[in-house]
């Protein structure tokens, strides 16, 4: 009798494990409450040093330096909107392949853990400890920010919450300046 009871309990426990696995997967696909913070507003970041050309580029961002046009998204491991930005990138493989991401964080480990929490296959990213590189080269100290670069030169810096809105705005800027 106790064997039957044990197996029934084991099956129930297994069903609960399955339920949690599905719940976790669902949560990762539909995003979280942070989506409610998202809007289509895109504003220029006044403090950024437009026209700056970095003297040295991190190896992971070497392609940005050579690209005619590139969109570099600056996120931080400690900002709530950035987590939502990463969720948006997780859900869109095409955008992931198109943009570059710079993760500003206190330690490389924290940066890796932040990135690892999302689907990042195909994403080209660089972990910038303390945001020192992006701060020094472009005077960017807030996030999330989209940096529009032309031949490695900073054309514009845009504050945003929606990646789609940022890409649309960046596309317009590139179109106007071409």
């Amino acid at each position: 009798m106790i064997i039957v009871f044990g197996f029934v309990l084991l099956v129930l426990a297994g069903a609960l494990v399955l339920l949690f696995a599905m719940f976790g997967e669902l949560a990762s696909r539909v995003g979280t409450h942070t989506e409610s913070l998202r809007n289509d507003r895109v504003e220029p970041l006044e403090d950024a040093t437009l026209g700056a050309v970095p003297g040295n580029w991190p190896a992971e961002l070497a392609e940005v330096a050579d690209a005619e046009h590139a969109l570099l998204i600056v996120v931080s491991s400690s900002c709530r909107n950035c987590a939502d930005v990463m969720s948006q990138l997780s859900a869109d493989a095409a955008t992931r392949a198109d943009v570059f991401v710079l993760v500003s964080c206190p330690t490389a480990r924290a940066g890796r853990e932040f990135v690892a929490a999302y689907e990042t296959s195909g994403l080209r990213y660089h972990i910038d400890e303390y945001g020192s590189w992006v701060g020094t080269e472009f005077n960017v100290h807030v996030s999330p920010v989209g940096l529009v670069l032309r031949d490695g030169r900073l054309d514009s810096a845009l504050m945003f919450t929606s990646v789609a809105a940022l890409r649309a705005e960046a596309g317009q800027l590139v179109g106007h300046s071409s």
Partner: protein, 184 residues
């Protein structure tokens, strides 16, 4: 049951619960492990499909169930040991290659990549195989299956709760204030 039999039952139920969690999670979410292995193996990862991950998950579940049935527990233990060595090898490779992608291993919904955790758990499972085949060759009575299934169910719930603690925390957390701040 003898004291050795009880110890064997507890350890086998722990191993069964661990494998059950890992297997059932992989059945639902095979993509995470596939991507983590893809990062690890690079171009050689073409053979790692969702079906392969689900087959591995099936082996884990069968091993877990075998551990709970006295006559076949030895086979279950050997399978658990082999799987443990595979986990440990994957963890070692992940650590050496500094894997960053979350593997969703052992039912975890967090961001843990292949690494030291997998090595430790893998070697522990290998230890279960050694215990069953070497040390605990004692005969177990009818109480074994009942005890192991009950404890395995309990441990499976505990592991599941621990692996999904972030998710549970999020569910029970009070709604956050909606704002539109931009900044670090």
């Amino acid at each position: 049951m003898t004291t050795t039999g009880w110890v064997e039952a507890v350890i086998n139920s722990l191993a069964a619960a661990l494998l059950l969690n890992a297997g059932l999670h992989k059945v639902v979410v095979p993509g995470r492990l596939r991507e983590a292995l893809g990062e690890l193996l690079g171009r050689r990862s073409n053979f790692v499909s969702h079906s392969l991950v689900r087959t591995l998950a099936g082996l884990e579940i069968v091993s877990a169930l075998a551990l709970t049935v006295a006559p076949v527990r030895m086979y279950g233990a050997v399978a658990a040991g082999v799987l443990g060595l595979v986990f440990a090898a994957a963890g070692l490779a992940g650590r050496l290659r500094r894997s960053t992608l979350s593997c969703g291993c052992l039912g975890g919904s967090g961001g843990r990549a292949l690494g030291m955790f997998n090595i430790v758990v893998g070697l522990a499972l290998a230890g279960v195989a050694v215990l069953n085949t070497g040390v605990a060759s004692s005969q177990v009575d009818d109480g074994y299956a009942g005890a192991v299934t009950l404890w395995a169910a309990f441990f499976a719930l505990m592991f599941c709760g621990w692996a999904n603690r972030r998710l549970i925390h999020d569910v029970f957390r009070a709604p956050v204030q909606v704002g539109s701040e931009m900044g670090k």
